[in-house]
């Protein structure tokens, strides 16, 4: 679960390896200190060690692997077009990861991270310019998706400063914004392959899974988020925090009791499942077995989380009843 499953096609494998080697070439052209940073896993994945970044295979497949997840729909592109867009998309996605870390204050060298972000972003756009003429309707999508990205990040900052801003529509805008740089790659591939009609389906599928992904993160990490004072949509649905102007003291016990009383984890895991179903439905008409398998894998994982959560609540409710009837 979670790893990119490449299509069983030697050309797909070769193209994937080629994008990785282009990333290494990009790192080699950077000033030495930035090149070193770009080769470290922790720069993108937050791991505390000095492990080397293994390239795009190290990332969650959705971040830079979408050209392969929608392979059957996109393999008609020639090698040069496919590679240039996949490289540009990968750099663009890496730039957005770095920007997230800078904004969340998780980047361990924020000044250098800002410079590396600029290098990734600039090179990413250079690749897209090389692949698509200025007359291409891709550039209108690029502008729209860049605006979505910015709006999502700004909404996140606003919600961290004032939790009352964190409404459902804000949360959805944030999730859509987060996935927009990834949709840029698919927009470029759809336009370059002469299939503009597939973009709305791929975009909807990505946006729906982005909402599901964020919810799943927030349900699973609510205690860590509370300790860190990180405002999430899920936390703002827990009664002690509902409608509050600021996150109160980190009362994990009270929040846990409130989640248990209303089975909030169950409710929001069901909402997550609904978004995953929408994601699969949006892509149903496309030739993308790899993508559909990926979405289905996460649907099953979410359903397993739901089973565990329901069982936990049932034990909590039934134990005292059984003990009462036995005494």
């Amino acid at each position: 679960m979670g790893a990119l499953k490449l299509p069983s096609n030697p050309r797909a494998t070769w193209l994937f390896a080629e994008v990785d080697s282009r990333y290494q070439a990009f790192c080699a052209r950077l000033p030495e200190s930035l090149g070193r940073m770009a080769r470290l896993r922790r720069t993108y994945l937050g791991s505390p060690s000095d492990e080397l970044f293994k390239g795009i295979a190290d990332l969650n497949p959705v971040l830079a692997g979408t050209p392969w997840m929608f392979w059957e729909q996109l393999e008609r592109l020639n090698d040069a077009q496919f590679l240039t867009i996949a490289e540009g998309g990968a750099l663009f996605a890496l730039a957005s990861i770095l920007l997230d870390h800078i904004i969340d204050r998780q980047a361990d060298q924020p000044e250098a991270a800002t410079l590396l972000h600029q290098a990734l972003h600039t090179r990413g756009i250079e690749c897209l310019r090389a692949a698509l003429p200025t007359s291409s309707s891709f550039w209108a999508h690029f502008e729209r998706l860049s605006a979505d990205h910015l709006a999502g990040l700004a909404a996140e900052l606003d919600a961290q400063a004032d939790p009352s801003c964190m409404r459902e529509e804000t949360f959805i805008r944030m999730a859509h914004g987060k996935v927009s740089p990834i949709v840029v790659t698919l927009a470029a591939l759809a336009e370059a392959s002469g299939q503009p009609g597939i973009l709305p389906h791929m975009e909807a599928s990505l946006k729906h899974i982005a909402v599901a992904s964020q919810l799943l993160d927030d349900i699973g990490d609510w205690q860590e988020d509370m300790h860190a004072g990180h405002v999430t949509y899920f936390l703002t649905q827990v009664p002690p925090y509902r409608n509050s102007q600021a996150m109160p003291a980190h009362d994990v016990e009270a929040a846990g009791a409130a989640i248990d009383a209303d089975w909030l984890d169950v409710d929001y895991l069901n909402v997550t499942l609904d978004w995953l179903k929408k994601s699969a439905e949006a892509a149903r008409g496309l030739a993308c077995p790899g993508w559909l398998e990926y979405v289905e894998g996460y649907r099953q994982l979410t359903d397993e989380h739901l089973t565990v959560a329901v069982a936990r609540h049932l034990v909590r409710v039934l134990r005292p009843i059984v003990a009462g009837s036995a005494s």
Binding site: M1, G2, N60, V62, L63, K178, V179, I209, A210, A212, S213, Q214, L216, D217, I219, G220, D221, A261, D262, W263, V266, N270, Y294, V295, Y298, L301, E304, H305, L306, T307, V308, V310, A311, R312, H313, L314, V315, V317, L318, R319, P320, I321, V322, G324, S325, A326
Partner: protein
């Protein structure tokens, strides 16, 4: 999960799975479990899942095993 061998324990296991699936999907059962009085919970389990009070006691340990599955990874699709 505990191995199920005898016909009677198999029946209890099937009812346990039915209980979990219904509690996931049925708003009526789920609401009773969340907010009902003990007598309402017992009646709902009997009427909607076919579980007697004695059977509830028998399935609790298996239910707890499922609740304690700590190996499910919280890994999101875009994480």
């Amino acid at each position: 999960m505990a191995a199920k061998e005898t016909p009677s324990s198999r029946e209890h296991w099937d009812k346990l799975i039915r209980l979990i699936e219904l509690a996931k999907k049925s708003r009526t059962l789920s609401n009773t479990m969340r907010h009902g009085k003990p007598s309402e919970v017992v009646a709902a389990l009997r009427d909607q899942v076919g579980l007697s009070a004695e059977e509830v006691a028998m399935i609790l340990d298996d239910l707890e095993l499922i609740a304690d599955r700590g190996s499910v990874r919280w890994w999101s699709p875009l994480g």
